[in-house]
């Protein structure tokens, strides 16, 4: 970034201050909120803070956001990666200051963020929504270099396209292996949606091939619904190996795409390794993550339990019963924006409730869902008993078709709310 650009940003900040100063924040001490990460959590939060009249700066290193939701259809071959991509133009034209750089460090005591080019910005409150980073130290043999041979495709973009190309290039009769980590990780039902759609691809395009799913756990989200559908739709194309049957991956050897478990070795034509994960690096550097690698927060305010004036939303945070989903990140972001605006006005936020809904596609026209309603409890979010749950088992195809259509509609609406 050139000096001129830097001046423009600072000029932009001053201009924002004058325009938005009026409503209710006194001119001499207008609080400034910085949001790090312009994904489902951060972009939503910046927008809602701005609309509440708060001076906000969004720091996002990429000019284009690539959405993970629906990226399994790109791997399936029925959707292009461009349909997953969103710019920040609408946020900019709304008047939100966006800094297209990587936040390099956070000094919580000085309330200061240092950017890639050395520029510093100060905040009254900081919102961290950096998503996840892969833990390239957790699974022997799996690092950034092996991910180029055995993609995780768990951050959407080049990795997603790589996995699709590998499947397309595979000869009919090839073995596909997917490795799924233990909890917690981004999008609990995501691996099983992907397994379903890869099996659908194999069944329709490469029927002599097969997918083996190696799982480091025995239980997973929407399990009965997935397994019911797999038995009906993919009996010859999808084999599921749970932890109890030796499904935990203990090592990978990227050079020949070998996946090692406690009991077996599989040499794959295509291997999709979803490794263990942690909160995005900036959350670790800011001191907001604990020994688990994730960020403990107060569910009343999303404020870090480790660092005052820092709030964490989305995948990076420990939300208890609330899963790491785009739906959840968006819902948390809207609430966090409202809460931070209240805190800056010296008000006390009321006890919130949050909702999550996650759709999964078992086939392109076969959708299932899980929902939850949550309230603060035991220092995290807990399920409200009697609410939520999954789609019914053994429902007519018509219900599955409707849920697939709703899933598609959801993607359009949420991305319009965040980026549109």
């Amino acid at each position: 970034m050139s000096l001129t650009d830097r001046r423009q940003i600072l000029g932009g900040l001053a201009a924002t201050a004058t325009v938005l100063g009026a409503p209710y924040v006194s001119a001499q001490a207008q609080p400034h909120v910085i949001v790090i990460g312009g994904g489902f959590g951060g972009a939503t939060c910046a927008r809602f803070l701005h609309r509440a009249g708060i001076k906000v700066t969004l720091i996002e290193e990429n000019a284009t956001y690539t959405s993970c939701p629906f990226s399994n259809l790109v791997i399936h071959g029925s959707r292009e990666i461009s349909a997953q991509q969103f710019s920040y133009d609408a946020l900019k034209s709304e008047g939100i200051t966006i800094v297209a750089q990587r936040a390099q460090s956070v000094d919580g005591d000085a309330r200061r963020v240092t950017l890639n080019d050395g520029t510093t910005l100060t905040y009254d409150r900081l919102i961290l929504s950096p998503g996840i980073d892969m833990r390239f130290d957790a699974l022997p043999g799996y690092d950034a270099a092996s991910a180029e041979l055995m993609p995780h495709a768990w951050k959407a973009g080049a990795q997603t396209v790589l996995l699709r190309r590998q499947l397309e290039a595979m000869e009919d009769g090839g073995l596909v292996v997917m490795s799924v980590p233990a909890n917690p990780y981004r999008c609990p039902p995501g691996p099983y949606e992907r397994a379903s759609l890869i099996a659908h691809y194999l069944k329709t395009k490469k029927p002599k091939s097969k997918l083996i799913v190696l799982d480091a756990k025995d239980q997973f989200s929407k399990q009965k619904l997935f397994q019911e559908a797999w038995a009906n739709l993919y009996p010859d194309h999808l084999e599921y190996v749970p932890l109890a049957a030796g499904g935990k991956t203990t090592e990978v050897i990227a050079s020949d795409k070998t996946v090692v478990t406690e009991f077996s070795r599989y040499t794959a034509a295509v291997a999709n390794i979803i490794p263990p994960q942690q909160a995005g690096k900036i959350a670790q550097l800011a001191g907001a993550a604990d020994r688990t690698g994730w960020c403990p927060i107060d569910p009343m305010t999303f404020e870090s339990k480790l660092r005052p004036n820092m709030h964490v939303i989305g995948d990076a945070a420990i939300m208890g019963a609330m899963p790491k989903s785009a739906f959840a990140a968006n819902a948390q972001a809207k609430l966090c924006a409202q809460t931070v605006a209240q805190l800056l006005r010296g008000e006390t936020p009321a006890e919130p409730k949050l909702v999550n809904t996650c759709y999964s596609l078992v086939a392109p026209d076969y959708g299932i869902s899980v929902a939850g309603v949550y309230r603060p409890g035991n220092g995290v979010f807990v399920d409200i008993e009697g609410a939520g749950g999954t789609s019914p088992l053994t429902a007519p195809q018509d219900v599955r078709t409707r849920e697939a259509a709703y899933s598609n509609a959801w993607f359009g609406i949420i991305t319009a709310e965040v980026f549109g």
Partner: protein, 95 residues
């Protein structure tokens, strides 16, 4: 209600949206699925509070068939659902 509308109107006049009463518990989530008209998922824009409350209560009791809303509304009391409906109606002048 009149106060909410008044504040909303003032906000429109003064440019950027000014302070509004905070959304009641759960209300901010709705817009993640219910947005502009013309989607498979019904828009709530322009609907009045009585209509929305009636629908929410019918989902909650099971009187009205749904794939998902029945599971979600069970997480709220009748009063909470009514408060959400009032808030949604008041949003029609915002943005």
């Amino acid at each position: 209600m009149r106060i909410v509308l008044l504040v909303t109107t003032l906000a429109l006049i003064s440019g950027p949206v000014a302070a509004q009463s905070p959304a009641p518990p759960g209300a901010l989530t709705c817009s993640g699925c219910h947005g502009a008209a013309g989607s498979e998922l019904p828009s709530l824009r322009g609907k009045d509070a009585a209509t929305i409350t009636q629908a929410l209560l019918a989902f909650r009791s099971g009187a009205r068939e749904a794939t998902l809303m029945n599971r979600i509304t069970k997480g709220f009391s009748e009063d909470e659902l009514a408060a959400i409906a009032v808030w949604i109606e008041a949003q029609k002048d915002v943005k």
